[in-house]
């Protein structure tokens, strides 16, 4: 599905071409299909990569970077041929791995500067840039401590700094908020938003945490059992298949409900007690008010319903389960 290109504030224009375009990517682990004919076309912006454990998210990310070898599949990443130009791709991608990986013995600032040097930044420039990025990532004076002594949250921030130090146009973040406290998590999401909105970076955000995706992502890919189950913008996904209203009433709810049913509306009751009226557009709202008046109930809240990301996720995952 082709997504519309979003415009960013501050006149940073996204590229019109795809960041990732994959076709038929298949990865087998001893016969098990970790990725099964995955085809994607992701454009600039922040893309959430969702899926239950073992759905193939990390395998897809490692495939993009050539850290695992795929049996099938071709495509482009940042207009570079994948997998033939994987080294050039690594040059232009910042990767935050899910694994707790670090170079033992280095201090935080050395670890970031080292990654800068490996990405081609000259020695002094790499160190200067490492200081700048560790400040941006709020690592503070901890950067002078050995990474082995870092907490999980600090290591996440350090990995984020390492991913960012060479100023890549595309970031792949695998579970970036894992191990962060609520404040730090919010700060991390703010940084991600800043990078995408103000600096034109494209970001692939793999996570289990649905509120994180809702907070920052423009589009979402849901993987389950190695296949792409859902791929669309959050805006499109949030729209229900039929126009639907959520109504919260005060008074005789049963009378209001039976009157709606008599009028031919399909109504369900949600867990929080609100009524979900399916197949009603906003221009038919006046009839709802009239029914409420006739049944002596008052409407406390009335709003167009949206699919929640949780619903979308669970539907996609349950549809992939073998029966």
């Amino acid at each position: 599905m082709k997504l519309t290109t979003r415009l960013h504030p501050n006149n940073v224009e996204p590229t019109l071409s795809s960041i990732i375009s994959l076709s038929g990517v298949t990865k087998l682990y001893s016969g098990f299909r970790a990725l099964d004919d995955v085809s994607l076309e992701i454009e600039s912006g922040i893309t959430g990569l969702l899926g239950p454990n073992g759905s193939g998210k990390s395998t897809l990310i490692k495939s993009l970077l050539g850290l695992v070898r795929n049996q099938q599949g071709t495509g482009t990443v940042l207009n570079l041929q994948w997998p033939n130009q994987v080294r050039e791709i690594r040059d232009r991608v910042g990767y935050l791995p899910e694994d707790d990986c670090y170079i033992a013995g280095l201090t935080g600032i050395e670890a970031v500067a080292f990654m800068a040097n490996l990405s081609g930044l000259p020695k002094t420039e790499g160190l200067r840039r490492a200081h700048e990025i560790t400040d941006f990532c709020d690592i503070g004076e901890e950067k002078y401590r050995s990474v082995e002594a870092y907490s999980t949250g600090m290591r996440q921030k350090l990995k984020f700094a390492q991913a960012l130090v060479h100023d890549p146009p595309f970031l792949i973040l695998d579970e970036p908020t894992t191990g962060l406290d609520p404040d730090q998590r919010e700060a991390m999401l703010r940084r991600i938003r800043t990078l995408a909105r103000d600096h034109g970076k494209s970001i692939l955000l793999s996570t289990h945490i649905l509120p994180d995706v809702k907070a920052v992502c423009d589009q979402v890919v849901i993987l389950a059992r190695g296949k792409v189950r859902v791929f669309d913008s959050i805006k499109n996904l949030s729209k229900p298949a039929e126009p639907t209203l959520n109504v919260m009433v005060y008074g005789d709810k049963d009378a209001f409900l039976s009157e709606l049913t008599e009028e031919g509306y399909t109504v369900t009751t949600k867990a929080d007690g609100a009524l979900k009226i399916i197949g009603i557009s906003t221009d038919q709202v006046s009839s709802i008010w009239e029914i409420a008046a006739s049944t002596g109930t008052s409407i406390r809240r009335l709003a167009p319903a949206q699919n929640s990301l949780e619903e979308i996720f669970f539907q996609a995952v349950s549809a992939s389960e073998p029966r």
């Binding site: 970077l65 690594r90 670090y102 990405s119 081609g120 000259p122 800043t194």
Partner: protein, 320 residues
Amino acid sequence: MPVHDLGYRNWGGKRNHHLIRPLFVARSGITLIWRRRMLKLLLLVAWLPIAIPAIGIFCFEQGLTDESYRRFIVQTLRGPMERPDLAMQMLEDPVSIRHEVWSALILGFFRVPQLYSMVLLIGLIAPLLISYDLRSKAYLQYFSRPLSTNEYIVGKSAVIWFFLGMITTLPGLVVYLLGVLLSPELSVVSTTWDIPLRILMASVALIIPTTALAISYSACTVENRYASFAWFATWIMGSVAYQILTNIPRMGRGRRNAIDVDTERWLLVSPYHTLGKVETWIFGLDTGESSVWPAVFILIAISVIGTLFVRSRLIARLSV
């Protein structure tokens, strides 16, 4: 929070060529190892034996004009250095054996103190290089950058090359320089000019295969102590096996026939003696009857197979 929070700023400078990147891998490894006090001490101790060949060369040069020094050199050549032929020539025409004596002294320096230092030094540092990266999954950090497996191997090997150069090549060259400076006249250079080249060649013969062997052990396991154990076991067991294989026939034939035992037949079982054969040949002092080429072939095979093994281990990690 820094005093001046600059926020995020884009970077658009010129990047280094990718061939330079292994140097950063090497520099990082050297920096990490340099922080270990034990290794600094070992490096210091490894330089102390430099005095032995330097004093030997000084005594030899003095012995050309001074009878007491000459007697000392003759006794040394007959005794510890086991070269009675040179001792005879020292009495007849000492200038003609200058090259051989200098080479023998420097070779002795390479063969005994520096080889032991090398075994100890590599045993302490090499397992830290790749097995640590495998255990801490740091290889994901390396290979998410535009770094090939070959560049990674070169970078890691360069750490060992650096430290081995520090305890073999550099002191060897310093010994030569000291020898020249302690000689009565600088004309000695005209007869010994090739010794620095031989030192470099002997260093290469020592450094390349031992590094390949050490990093292949390091790549075998995520437990660096196993890699250390395998490294020391290779040297100790090899030497023990060589001693047993060469001494048992001697004991069987009795002391009178000991000279008939072919000690070179079994030297390939011991890395120490294989290296010794090649280094002796490089310094032009090989008096053995057997060819040096099997030993050279073994060292080349260790270098190639060791490097290919490391490469395959890394690729296997990235090709799961």
